[in-house]
């Protein structure tokens, strides 16, 4: 686990420093710019669905789905981050109680 932490730390720092150090024209390649904009979108979307609808190697629908539904509505209503996250946890926990 420590190795993973160190590698992630070095990698993420190198990416930040590269941004401040590389010449700006790197950005002028439109393909680089598009892909770089899409990467966080694709990864975050994948992380949402995997986190909510997978359980090990199987796909499941459980209380987490209700939590995500709450988060969706809360975000539509422009609720702050903490309300979205804690609210989703509370909804899921309440459903598991009953």
């Amino acid at each position: 686990m420590w190795l993973a932490i160190i590698v992630a730390a070095v990698g993420c720092y190198a990416l930040k420093l590269a941004g401040l150090s590389l010449p700006e024209r790197v950005l002028h390649n439109p393909l680089v710019e598009r892909v770089a904009d899409f990467i966080p979108v694709a990864l975050l979307a994948a992380l949402v669905v995997v986190q909510v609808w997978s359980d090990g190697p199987s796909l499941t629908v459980d209380a987490r789905t209700a939590g995500l539904a709450f988060a969706f509505v809360a975000l539509l209503l422009r609720a702050p981050f903490l309300v979205v996250v804690i609210g989703a946890a509370v909804v899921a926990a309440l459903i598991r109680l009953v």
């Binding site: 979307a45 994948a46 992380l47």
Partner: protein, 229 residues
């Protein structure tokens, strides 16, 4: 160097930066709690916040590990997510004009929030004040909150009873949300989600998320040179 900033403008920028820091820093509490319930020690959770210090990457790393994925998949996902900080740096470098050691130090606090609070300033001095006040406020509060959340997380028995697994999905959606106003991003998000879900039953944990990164590459190549569709 540019002309010194008027005091009122300077303190206004700092006030905004600290406010953003408080708002963002507080969700370090959820990161700390999620990290320890994923199996990390309090010390490891704090090390991630101090050293990696870019929220989405940290959540991704512990999310993949919590799902039983290999640490290497989590690390790769975290690093791929960290590439957006490179873009931020490319946009900010001409504005901030940091060199040498100051650049090396500034790099650590180059994140979504510090970029947002610097990129639209009209002068180097204003951009620096926005960048530094926001970056430092988030850094201090994010790390303090991680520690608090990690300590609270260790006191919790079964994280599922508190819905913490649902909180992680909600956190990812909240991080994704601001980018979904763009139509092409919506397409990318739906395709990436579908690819990831389809791969869950047939690949090791962590792989579906990485494969979804391939969707970004594919859509980037397929959309025309103008990027319109």
């Amino acid at each position: 160097m540019t002309a010194p900033l008027p005091l009122a403008e300077r303190s206004g920028i700092i006030r905004d930066g600290v406010a953003v820091g408080i708002a963002t820093g507080t969700y370090g509490i959820s990161f700390g709690a999620v990290a320890v319930t994923a199996g990390l020690s309090v010390f490891q959770a704090c090390a991630l916040s101090l050293l990696v210090f870019t929220g989405a990457s940290q959540f991704a790393l512990v999310g993949v590990i919590a799902a039983g994925g290999a640490p290497i998949s989590g690390v790769l996902t975290a690093i791929l997510l960290g590439t957006r900080n490179t873009l931020y740096g490319l946009r900010l470098a001409p504005l901030l004009q940091f060199t040498g050691l100051r650049r090396a130090a500034a790099a650590q606090i180059l994140i979504d929030e510090s970029t947002a609070m610097a990129v639209n300033r009209g002068s180097t001095s204003a951009a620096r004040v926005g960048f530094l006040s926001t970056g430092l406020a988030v850094f201090v509060l994010w790390n303090a909150a991680t520690l608090a959340g990690a300590l609270a997380g260790t006191a919790i028995g079964d994280p599922r009873a508190f819905g913490l697994d649902a909180a992680v999905g909600a956190a990812f959606l909240a991080l994704l949300w601001p980018r979904l106003s763009d139509r092409r991003n919506q397409v990318v998000a739906v395709c990436a989600g579908a690819v990831a879900l389809g791969l869950v039953p047939v690949t090791a944990a962590g792989v579906p998320v990485l494969a979804a990164g391939g969707v970004a590459l594919l859509v980037g190549v397929l959309t025309g040179p103008q990027g319109e569709r």
